[in-house]
């Protein structure tokens, strides 16, 4: 089954548009079915984003927001991303678009908060940049967030800050490893023959070896026969940020900063 990854959600809430499709309820229903069959493995069953694909329910689109542009995105894919071309008929794609349009919020959503303050939080006391990189600055243990505003909804980002274990993606990312992609951000602990316990994230792993980045942000490469034990933990290494650590206003500022992050060539927040 083809997997569909539509990279289209952007941080700027001003792009929400009235649906241009004029399709009836049955088309939306068919589109929902096609979406589940073709797109949900990456984008989630309800298009709210999955382990691999971004949230498609916000009505905001990175690669063009007209029906024709979205059709092109789905049929041709997005070069340089994991979004492949898809062999669906145009009529089928239009029902998927109708379904996605039906999920869009009724009016524009604005994201309150001060991006400049959020940036200070990110690179300052909250310590986000100790593990996350933005445009070449920051740590390497967690995902690079240079484009996170284009891929994730504000709700998802808030969940990730308050409860990082809520949306773990391992096992959902690449069923059967059909696409040969390495696992990422899979928390793992190994015990060496000398008894040293090392925790980090697995960048890749197979029957015989494991390649990981440790908590000290060092690459460590092991043959499994050189290890006493390899164990996987279904938890994120990111600490949860409670109200005590980041209050609601700080989180809002942080989200408003993250939503400005849409790639390497976007204007820098100052």
């Amino acid at each position: 089954m083809a997997l569909l990854v539509v990279c289209c959600v952007a941080a700027n809430a001003q792009e929400a548009r009235k649906p241009t499709s004029n399709l009836d309820f049955s088309a939306i229903k068919e589109g929902a079915s096609l979406f589940r069959g073709n797109c949900s493995p990456c984008h989630g069953l309800n298009a709210r984003g999955g382990g691999r694909g971004p949230d498609l329910s916000s009505g905001r689109w990175t690669h063009g927001s007209t029906d024709e542009e979205i059709l092109r995105t789905i049929s041709q894919g997005v070069p340089g991303t994991e979004m492949p071309a898809n062999a669906l008929e145009d009529s089928e794609i239009r029902t998927i678009i109708a379904y996605l349009r039906s999920l869009a919020p009724p009016r524009n959503i604005t994201v309150p908060g001060d991006p400049a303050k959020g940036k200070k939080i990110f690179f300052g006391d909250a310590g986000c940049s100790n593990c996350h990189m933005v445009r070449g600055v920051g740590g390497v243990l967690g995902p690079d967030l240079s484009r996170v505003g284009a891929a994730r909804s504000a709700t998802y980002l808030i969940d990730s800050i308050r409860d990082p274990d809520k949306e773990l993606s391992s096992g959902m990312t690449d069923p059967n490893n059909h696409y040969g992609l390495p696992l990422v951000y899979d928390t793992v602990t190994v015990v060496t023959t000398s008894g040293e316990k090392i925790t980090g994230v697995a960048r890749n792993e197979d029957t015989y070896s494991i390649q990981m980045i440790t908590m000290a942000q060092q690459l460590q490469l092991f043959r499994k026969r050189e290890l006493k034990e390899v164990s996987h933990q279904r938890r994120s290494l990111m600490p949860p940020y409670s109200e005590d650590a980041l209050d609601a206003a700080q989180v809002q500022d942080l989200i408003s900063y993250l939503e400005t992050l849409r790639g390497m060539d976007e204007k820098e927040v100052r």
Partner: protein, 528 residues
């Protein structure tokens, strides 16, 4: 003297280019230097009598050559080997002949495929059949073609079905007598499945067995209303053959829609079944249905293994199959009588198999809008990956997956040539799927050993008289195990997922083993 020399040359040339007759196919086990059918022999064992590579020297395996297909996608071929030449197919209906000692191409072929083909699971092909000096290939646009072994030239080309209706071929044909036998793909699109036989000389279709009976035929009443018309039941894996009984054993796939049964009440014959067909006319001799009224895409398209063994005091002709639905079955292949079945992994869709061979179904596990967790998942406890049977150990080697899926209902109307699934499945996000190569006692179904894979597999197993099993995992490891114990003897990382199964052959008294991985064939032999 000169004449004698010429005579020797002529004899040598003739030996090099000997035709592959039906008699040679029947006696394939007697020429282990070659690999003449998809499973290596008609009985489906994927076992070779070659024994140069053993449990004690497998660690000395080294690469001999690599052949690049020159295309992308899943490489699922089982190459054939005849007298020093390898014949294989590749992605997008490519094909090739290679010098087996050097890996150098002799010829290449690529079919000019139409746009907008819709194979469910990749632009794949699983290999050739050979008969005489012809190679037979079933193509993604639902044609059957014959190629010349020396040149790759097309000798005939016949259309079996309309690819616009999502009929496709991915199967490796089976040559029996003067026939080329193929089974169709397209179970995800509501095709009406069939198994065809074509005359090897002319390409004329000799018979067709429709795997979904029409009104008036036995079995049609197992379909509600007109649901039989888009009933699916493809037949996309190569069957096996018993020349004594003159019976062809061909397994079938899922009914359509694959994951929703509301519009097709009934057992939906002959879906997910083993068919015993008379190869002379395509008539059905018996059938056994493993998963009636399937809701989980449990195609029975696993290669049936034929073996004769003592059973309750007498020698009996048996058929064993580790089925995608999670149960290992043994039948009497003379009449299809059910002998026993036992689960070979974690199964929740059924609590067991009754004394008649019918599953005791857990009816609470239908797909819902919220999602229902079912084990095994839609890809099965095993799948099409080739099993292997070793007569020395009495074990059947089966690649297995631990994946359970969440089935979520997504009903859809039938439209010719379009997806027709009825629900969607995703792997259970809580448990990362892993895999294993399991050794199962052919006569009891008991697990003798299990070698763990980090990921769910897509490759099968080859066993040999050297006491070893060759296997490949989805993470690119080509692995050699001790056939008796499962002990890990050697492995090499090939850099891309393995979607097929190894074969072995001999040239110049040297045993080679060849495995497809990524988009290349890799050949190994013992280091001098």
């Amino acid at each position: 003297m000169k004449n004698a020399f010429l005579l020797i040359l002529v004899v040598a040339a003739a030996a090099l280019q000997a035709q592959v007759t039906f008699e040679r196919l029947l006696r394939a086990p007697d020429e282990p230097q070659n690999w003449l059918t998809y499973s290596g022999r008609y009985s489906g064992w994927r076992y070779s009598a070659l024994h140069e590579i053993t449990t004690t020297n497998a660690s000395r395996l080294a690469m001999e050559w690599v052949f690049q297909v020159g295309d992308l996608g899943q490489f699922e071929t089982t190459p054939l080997v005849v007298d020093g030449v390898i014949y294989g197919t590749g992605q997008n209906d490519r094909a090739f002949a290679i010098d087996a000692r050097t890996g150098r191409a002799i010829w290449r072929y690529q079919r000019n495929l139409p746009d907008k083909l819709q194979p469910c699971c990749g632009m794949v092909n699983r290999g050739f059949a050979i008969l005489g000096n012809r190679l037979f290939m079933a193509t993604l646009d639902a044609h059957v073609i014959a190629l010349d072994t020396k040149t790759g030239n097309v000798l005939w080309d016949v259309m079996a079905a309309d690819h616009h209706q999502a009929y496709t071929f991915t199967v490796a044909p089976l040559a029996v007598k003067n026939e080329v036998i193929v089974g169709i793909s397209g179970g995800e699109y509501g095709v009406r499945g069939f198994i065809d036989a074509y005359d090897a000389a002319s390409g004329k279709r000799l018979w067709r067995f429709n795997t979904v009976p029409s009104p008036g035929e036995p079995g049609n009443k197992t379909w509600k209303g007109d649901s039989w018309k888009m009933g699916g039941v493809p037949a996309w894996i190569t069957g096996t053959y018993d020349p004594e009984l003159n019976l062809l054993y061909w397994p079938t796939g899922n009914p359509s829609p694959s994951n929703y049964g509301g519009e097709r009440d009934g057992d939906n014959l002959y879906s997910n079944s083993m068919l015993a067909l008379d190869p002379d006319n395509g008539k059905l001799k018996w059938y056994f249905q493993f998963t009636p009224h399937d809701l989980y895409d449990y195609d029975a398209t696993q290669i049936p293994i034929l073996l004769d063994a003592e059973w309750e005091g007498r020698t009996r002709k048996l058929l064993a199959q580790a089925n995608r639905n999670g149960f290992f079955y043994v039948l009497d292949r003379t009449d299809g009588k059910f002998l026993f079945a036992t689960a070979f992994g974690h199964v929740t869709w059924a609590t067991g198999i009754d004394s008649d061979g019918k599953p005791i179904v857990n009816t609470s596990l239908k797909a819902t809008p919220e999602g229902t967790r079912v084990c095994p998942g839609a890809l099965g406890l095993t799948n099409w990956y080739a099993p292997s049977y070793s007569p020395e150990t009495g074990l059947i080697y089966v690649a297995t997956s631990s994946e359970c899926d969440i089935f979520t209902s997504a009903p859809q109307p039938y439209r010719a040539g379009h997806d027709f699934l009825g629900s969607v499945y995703v792997p259970d996000p809580v448990e990362r799927p892993t895999g294993a190569l399991k050794a199962i006692d052919a006569l009891t179904g008991a697990e003798k050993w299990s070698f763990p894979y980090f990921s769910s597999p897509n490759g099968g197993a080859l066993s040999t008289a050297g006491g070893v099993v060759f296997a490949g995992d989805s993470d690119g490891n080509f692995i050699v195990l001790n056939a008796k114990t499962g002990h890990d003897l050697w492995h090499v990382q090939l850099g891309a997922a393995i979607y097929s199964t190894a074969i072995t052959f001999e040239v110049d008294q040297k045993e080679y083993v060849v495995i497809p991985a990524g988009s290349a064939l890799f050949a190994f032999a013992l280091r001098e």
